[in-house]
């Protein structure tokens, strides 16, 4: 047998919000060693929260991720309200759902058009793709912008919004602003439907694999702020008990911690959510999905992009529904009574389950904090996926092909390691 030993270093994995390095050893056409190294300079948020007042936490944790600040704010406020037994009004609950819809729209549209679509159409970047697909890219950034507008309506700005407080919102939007936004969303809705159909026409690799989906599930509504943690294998757990099944550990090759469910990898994010909650979607959306000839639950990880598009359409419908019913409340928040204890909160960030735990003293100061972001939960699954998918596609290929496929697989997870920087050093070692 000929001995082949090649070292490749590819600087910078594009279009992910994280710094990644992949080490791959291939021997006799089998992978003998695979490590996905995610490196984000540690910012040690869990430590810098210690000693801060609970009321500052929503503004501080937003800074973990510029792309999904709403998610961090939501998991935090739910945690404190559940510890303090705060009852919030249905107005607050609906506005939180609208706020979250805005972030899902912004984040999903950004990923589909600027980050993922260039992969499937063979372009280096979205601006390069825009020359051949001007309509699609323009539609994408306009949809993204409407998501930002929703976040701005309640938060003042779309990155690190300032409207949220424990108990509700600082401010209720004006009727005129709500009406203006509603008109824009209704006008754009047909294009969002078109976008979903367009996503279904992209040629996706047909690779099925076994994996366990994990998401929140609320029997009444598609999960965002509420529900238990459930899995495709029948798990059904209140969020306070999350740590009995899910455990994070540190691997030397990564600054994102690895989270495992009973010691095994699992998937969180849009595909996992849709796999576990398809039945809850409104019929009109189910009909469109059926027409697109893709069915859920799906075992094809490449359906993640389509799942994002489905959620985009769903959140557009939800936003329109909530804005149509909008009325100004007497007060946009409930008062809270501080209690010492452990606060647990879990919501669905655009990229999946985001779990928070805070130990709070009688003055409302944080004694300790644990935050488990979606990317650390997907990390073991990404390694497993790379191993399976690269093997299924054949390992006796040019390095460039393997590298391209590896990058595409990683981008399916829309990894956000700010919750992360940027480098895929790919080292393939053929023996």
């Amino acid at each position: 047998m000929t001995q082949k030993k090649i070292n490749i270093r590819v600087p910078v994995l594009a279009r992910v919000e994280g710094e990644g390095a992949l080490e791959l050893d291939i021997e006799n056409k089998q992978i003998t060693h695979l490590k996905l190294n995610i490196f984000e300079p540690p910012r040690l948020f869990e430590k810098l929260l210690e000693g801060r007042h609970y009321s500052e936490v929503p503004d501080i944790v937003a800074r973990i991720c510029g792309i999904c600040p709403v998610a961090y704010q939501m998991s935090a406020v739910h945690a404190f309200e559940s510890l303090f037994d705060t009852r919030v009004s249905s107005w607050v609950n609906e506005m939180r759902r609208l706020f979250y819809c805005g972030e899902w729209i912004e984040s999903h549209a950004l990923h589909i058009h600027l980050l993922a679509a260039p992969d499937f159409l063979g372009y280096e970047s979205a601006p390069a793709m825009a020359k051949k697909y001007p309509k699609e890219v323009k539609r994408g950034v306009e949809i993204q912008n409407l998501g930002n507008e929703i976040v701005r309506l309640l938060g003042g700005r779309s990155v690190h919004p300032v409207g949220v407080k424990v108990g509700g919102f600082h401010h209720a939007p004006k009727i005129d602003d709500v009406k203006t936004l509603l008109v824009k969303l209704e006008k754009k809705l047909p294009e969002v439907e078109e976008m979903l159909r367009w996503c279904s026409t992209l040629t996706l690799p047909d690779i099925e694999q076994e994996f366990v989906s994990v998401s929140l599930r609320d029997e009444k509504t598609y999960p965002m702020n509420t529900g238990n943690v459930v899995s495709g294998e029948g798990l059904n757990l209140p969020v306070e008990q999350y740590q009995t099944v899910f455990k994070e550990h540190h691997e030397p090759h990564s600054t994102a911690l690895f989270s495992l469910m009973n010691g095994e990898p699992y998937l969180v994010g849009p595909l996992a959510r849709l796999n576990l909650n398809f039945d809850i979607l409104p019929d009109e959306i189910k009909t469109i999905i059926n027409e697109c000839d893709i069915s859920f639950p799906s075992k094809n990880m490449y359906h993640s992009m389509f799942a994002r598009a489905v959620e985009l359409l769903y959140t557009f419908h939800e936003s329109i529904r909530i804005l149509k019913a909008y009325a100004i409340p007497d007060v946009p928040y409930s008062n809270v009574n501080v209690k010492a204890g452990i606060a647990y909160g879990c919501t669905e960030a655009p990229r999946g389950v985001l779990w928070h735990r805070y130990e709070v003293d009688e003055d409302g100061l944080i004694k300790s904090a644990t935050i488990t972001p979606p990317t650390s939960q997907n990390q073991a699954r990404m390694e497993e996926d790379l191993r399976n998918a690269l093997t299924l596609s054949g390992l006796d290929r040019k390095e460039d092909d393997i590298r391209f496929q590896a990058e595409q697989i990683i981008r399916n997870y829309d990894p956000c390691i700010s919750c992360a920087t940027h480098f895929l050093d790919l080292r393939i070692n053929h023996k």
Binding site: E17, K47, E124
Partner: protein, 257 residues
């Protein structure tokens, strides 16, 4: 005329300031016609070592590798602009500088010896010459576009130096500090956000850092007068721009009280 070559680099940060570009909507496509984006990893364009006219830098320096990389970025760019609180003043992660950074790392990671992390977090200007600073947590698209426009027109860019109070007056916001007794850092904070917090009835928490001539000792006195404990006042300065010299000094001064 050839288009100006631009790079956007990320160091230790949340990616939020880069969104000032990616959230431009249809204007992003227009912008990509005005300038030639040479490096912007999150947007898929990669050429970290090429020479550019303008480099935007997001994030602070918190690892060995970043300390080396910023030198390369400086070497490869004619005009270097920091965007946001992290790059300009160190960001919230600089809080570790006042604490035992090493102990923090050991508390989070089981094997801290594998983590490349410096004991202190520092802004870009501590390492290389910075030509222009944009403050904000995050910076806005307007700030970034105005800066590019100024540079393309051959004009020295300008950023706000006045206080948030001025923005409140122009927007007819009701003063939260005076009318509600709500602790507000507006009187010592650089304008630029649009005074969005006071507009929502809450006090400013200083995303944009210290303004010119910030009278922090007078404000601290006022906040204590509202009933805040000195350490609570001190914590107000110790947020997203905790490492900015004026705020560092203000928080030290008030803790001595």
């Amino acid at each position: 005329m050839s288009r100006a070559k631009v790079a956007v680099h990320k160091f230790s940060s949340c990616d939020g300031c880069q969104l000032a570009f990616l959230n431009l909507g249809a204007d992003l496509l227009l912008l990509s016609e005005l300038i030639d984006i040479k490096h912007f990893a999150e947007a898929g364009v990669i050429d970290e070592s090429g020479h550019v006219d303008i480099a935007f830098v997001e994030g602070s320096i918190s690892t060995q590798k970043e300390r080396q990389r910023i030198q390369e970025v400086r070497k490869n760019s004619d005009y270097l602009i920091t965007i946001g609180a992290c790059a300009t003043s160190g960001g919230i992660q600089a809080l570790r500088n006042m604490n035992d950074g090493k102990a923090w790392l050991e508390a989070v990671y089981a094997m801290p010896e594998y983590i490349d992390s410096l004991d202190k977090v520092s802004p870009i200007a501590e390492h290389v010459k910075v030509d222009f600073e944009l403050w904000g947590c995050p910076v806005s698209s307007e700030q970034v576009v105005a800066t590019i426009r100024a540079l393309l027109s051959g004009v020295t860019p300008k950023d706000n130096t006045e206080k948030v109070c001025m923005e409140c007056k122009r927007k007819n916001n009701i003063c939260t500090l005076v009318t509600k007794g709500e602790p507000c850092l507006g009187p010592v904070t650089k304008a630029g956000c649009g005074a969005i917090c006071p507009a929502f009835g809450r006090g400013c928490y200083s995303c944009y850092g210290p303004s010119a001539n910030a009278n922090t000792s007078s404000l601290s006195q006022r906040l204590i007068g509202l009933g805040l404990l000195p350490e609570q006042v001190s914590q107000r300065y110790q947020l997203f721009n905790n490492n900015a010299p004026q705020f560092k000094k203000a928080s030290e001064e008030v803790s001595k009280k």
